[in-house]
Subunit: 378 residues, 4 copies
């Protein structure tokens, strides 16, 4: 693990999810840029002192030499440090699991893509929401044609933390308004990407062009905190995406509505155990995780019976279990999982999203979205 | 009443709402262009034969001469006949209640506005959804500042009837795809206007420019059946409006979400008795019609106790009760109601919405929305 | 109409429901025991002075002599005056529509039953909740076996108005705690009966014995304000009924849950437009009034399209439309409606419920519930 | 750990919850009565071969001699083996965490109580639902008087698995109908106890008498599968409990409704993240885990931010974290946790519940419920 020292909240969730899978063990790491903090954190995690390293470079160099070398590295540093860490481990031939977003600049994402592809190396992004069983159930139903032809894809991702203003933000939030740390966009890159990747995952379609409006609704914020993005997809669907940091009442308000010719399907991250399936002029159906009418794959990635709620950690654990499957498959990692992994191509698209939205917003016009370079499953 | 012969479904709802108010009596009319059908309908409604007229012109001419002349006319003809009927009665000095949309062409709306204003005549549109007590409760809370500064206005109006395709549409639906009868737009003019007028009503702000994408998602449909409209308002709010004729599972799916700096307020037409009020980082509140914490006006337009549901007809009856109040106030009609009536200005804005959306859609760019000519309450 | 002078709230709802049906006209009445008040109320309702009577007896005597005699009388007096009024009109051969409860004493109910049956006269009770289309949809599904064998019937009817205490009750509520006016029980007779009649209506089964606990949870209240009743039915189902006057947060909280061997069906009066149908280990279905998968009868008693809410008044109007159908059928009134009318037998059972519950509560044991004397549909 | 060999589902949940807390390590065990299976399971869990024992007795004898002895034992055997295992470890002075129900016979529960109390030993039951943060939030609000005086306590616990009949039950369900394995009652002892313990936990009141009806609704089942229990409590509250194994549509349908003089509080296990707080005649409030208006203790036992759902495993982990706190406190374990632990007294009450319900059901009358022998917190 690189990053994730004491007090690093999201890293602690990653570790909890790994414990849930019972398939990962953290045996080496760089937990802080401060040597002492890193040692302390390593000790608290029960890691041998010799495998707590001063830097990613040192870690990569030492680990490739060991017989009991790490199988993969999990990178949970601040976002602006992702690039260097990813590059170092990929070049050392070590598979990478990286928190999203991959990087800030399209060029950097391209560099990582090139390295990963040359070596057929696994680089996966933790797009947590792709791990929810009912999100996967939705995807299977959509791809199986249960909704008919897909006509419209709507997603919203609303948060509330910025609504009270910039005055009293904690450090863990304030950096999201600092272009040096957050990258070229605010809400687009931070959470808009989640919604965007989700729509492509669900539909199996790729965005071809978009029209975005980015705005700053909260005085004093230095990046966008609200975005509306209109979308067109290569499979004929249209779409709409709305994201905000400043919508009171939305704790983690990611939801989607997929409109087909025969039915509409809805899901909300705050009630992740159910899908609403509504046909024209007939009873709505509420599909619930863990029941006999789930898609086969849904049951496979479900760990508790229906009625005993799974939540956010279980979703993240589903992703990590996928990663474990992929890592076990070696060169065949691409075909080791039931759904396509959020790999370096998804990471690249996430970065491109920010660039294209900025461009559309400035020109107040529609802009093309680049296609995926190398065809992969999707 | 002009229009609304036997089998005219919406006219029967208007009559039911009038009966609910107990303040209207239908005493004269032109119920059909066929003389016989008109007579039959008049008889079924218990109207004196001499006051069943062959045409709007004949009716206006005769009624103004009577001592017991009608107090107002309700126009529920097909939309493309609204203009002539409205013009005739306004010119005869008779107040008009007209089903929305007012007309199809901005020029016609302007003509009616000019006539009505010159004579200070009441011309009201039946924008039904403005009659819901909890919509008014929302408006009062917003204008009183309970949400803080208004930052974003979202509305969606989704219907499902076109989703199965154009093949088996009933006549009462098929005309909505015929430009000669439906006007220049499909979904925008038919239901987008409801959502648009609602957002202006709720916020007290006026749209200043918009960017619209109109599309036809259902093969064979001749007008737009899906629209996404981005909005900017004169009070600083931004907005988003999505409407569709082809979203399965949405029976009459009008809903709004108003995002303020302190709270978000949501309402859905299919659960019209409640408002969801959600502050940042604290318990959501569910306001329910008929309770002690309603705004004063809400209770005044509420007829049943909390827990005994009111519905669509009661909302329409609230509008008609407003109209009765306004009609009773004579020249002072503008100040006779607790909320501004949906008058000729709102009718005009509804027509302009179609024009501006078309223009934006064709140019794929933002277009200015004309301001209200004569300042009225709002 | 007997009762329902100015300010009588429930009578005004009855009149609104009658107007909604468009099949009733109020042409005669006794609106108050005060002659002047009665005249004033009659005048406000537009009734000819000569047909505003000083007493029920005078009204019955005069009306039977008229050629344009009333077709039926609606009795909305305070409950303790029901018996005399019902008796007078029945003896005069005039059909009666009476607000529930019919009377307070079983003997009085028996008397009315005897008179009504001897003359084959229509006496219907306004058990409003039987008029909801989705309640009828539930009944049809249950009787058609869609739930499998019915194993358990649960109903709760919770109100909140007594929770704050007896100190500040309005007159329209306070009388419910006065045994002279409310009858021998409080919550049982007032709202428990609604829930009880509803369970029998839904299941087509009759209660055979019960065990009741009546209690007074609010200091100073003179009758029961909370009851729990365990039930056994002649068709093999068991049941449970809970009612209260003092459950904060329940505006008009009538709901039921019918448990069958294959599915459970739920409905709540505060969301009356939907039924929840939940099978074992599969997607729940939400049936919505006005859709293609409603039972045939449901659509017949539904007046608005799905998505345009009907509410409490529409339910009462469905009952009144049934009454109109029955009255039009003359001697064949029993077979004139799609569902059995809440007739004098149901009125009698409502009265017996109070007696049997009291007896069970005093003996802390199970008590037999008398069967219906004359078999009628149900 | 005693019990919980390969394939033991609930034991795997206990282990997952322990991993979540990061405060337990399984270092010894008896995982099966088959020596080989036990060894295999131990090996799969990474336990040293020498600490995989052939029997509870052998384990207790060996572990008390070790310097690195276990701190506590987790007993997840089939229920009818609980007694012996608990007795052995308690007599060896080793704290016990036991799956509920404690035992089947009141005498056995008394024996364990006596041993535990004599040695001041910790014996905790895994009443999972007491671990949900919002259940604890409810308890704090109730005890703080936010609902006013508590007047009525309702709980239901409905499951569906038995509804299709006894023919195709899996072994993991079928034993619940076998008196030799399930104890003297079916639904009462299995899930009724959860609801019962929950009501006492929430209210801080103890049941003093009850009237129960136990029935068998599913043909061929050999114990009760449905129970209705009326309750009276020492603090003046009344209550009602309904539980069933055969209610389709209820996956794990535990819910409660606590009625106070000022507000009603509701919670449902299938939506465990929220509390509904409804005052008389005013807006309902939806409290959500992880927000600023949670009770202090709620936030302390909450691990994810509001909006990122916690579920069943997190609730069980909260209990295990309590156990860890208590174990760390040594002799002071009783005061080491923010809420009273479900200890041997609760275990005893759960067993007494079955006995008292059986007695009430047979006599069709009210029966006294014995008080807690030694006053403990609660």
């Amino acid at each position: 693990m690189v990053g994730g020292g004491q007090g690093a909240y999201f890293a602690s969730l990653h570790r909890a999810a790994m414990r849930l899978t019972n398939r990962f063990e953290i045996v080496a790491g760089v937990f802080s840029s401060s040597r002492q903090k890193s040692q302390d954190a390593g000790q608290a995690l029960g890691i041998a002192g010799e495998r707590v390293y001063p830097s990613a470079a040192a870690m990569a160099a030492a680990e490739v030499e060991r017989k009991d070398s790490i199988d993969a590295v999990v990178i949970v540093t601040p976002n602006h440090l992702h690039f260097e860490a990813c590059r170092i481990f990929l070049e050392a031939g070590i598979p990478v699991i990286c928190d999203k977003p991959l990087v800030h600049q399209v060029e950097d994402a391209e560099t990582l893509r090139r390295i990963a592809e040359e070596r057929n190396l696994f680089l996966a992004l933790t797009y947590t929401y792709l791990g929810y069983p009912m999100v996967r159930d939705a995807r299977d139903r959509i791809l199986a044609g249960e909704l008919g032809e897909i006509r419209f894809l709507y997603a919203e991702y609303l948060l509330e933390w910025l609504a009270p203003g910039v005055a009293d933000l904690s450090d863990s939030l304030a950096w999201r308004g600092d272009p040096a740390k957050a990258g070229p966009t605010g809400v687009v890159g931070d959470i808009g990407t989640h919604a965007f990747i989700l729509l492509e995952f669900l539909s199996g379609q790729r965005c071809t062009q978009l029209s975005a409006k980015l705005s700053t609704r909260v005085p004093g914020w230095r990046l966008d905190d609200n975005c509306v993005v209109q979308l067109e997809f290569n499979g004929g669907a249209e779409g709409l995406l709305w994201a905000s940091f400043a919508a009171p009442g939305h704790r983690n308000g990611l939801r989607f509505k997929v409109v087909g010719s025969q039915a509409t399907l809805e899901w909300s991250q705050e009630s992740p155990e159910v899908l609403h399936f509504a046909p024209t002029n007939g009873a709505e159906r509420i599909y619930r995780r863990g029941q006999s009418d789930n898609e086969a794959q849904t049951l496979a990635c479900s760990s508790l019976p229906a009625g005993c709620s799974e939540g956010y950690l279980e979703a993240l654990a589903v992703l990590y279990a996928d990663f474990a499957d992929a890592l076990s498959a070696g060169n065949e990692w691409r075909n080791a999982t039931a759904v396509p992994l959020p790999d370096v191509h998804e990471g690249l698209r996430g970065v491109e999203l920010s660039r294209v939205c900025l461009q559309s917003n400035q020109s107040r016009s529609w802009v093309e979205f680049p296609p995926v370079r190398t065809p992969t499953a999707g």
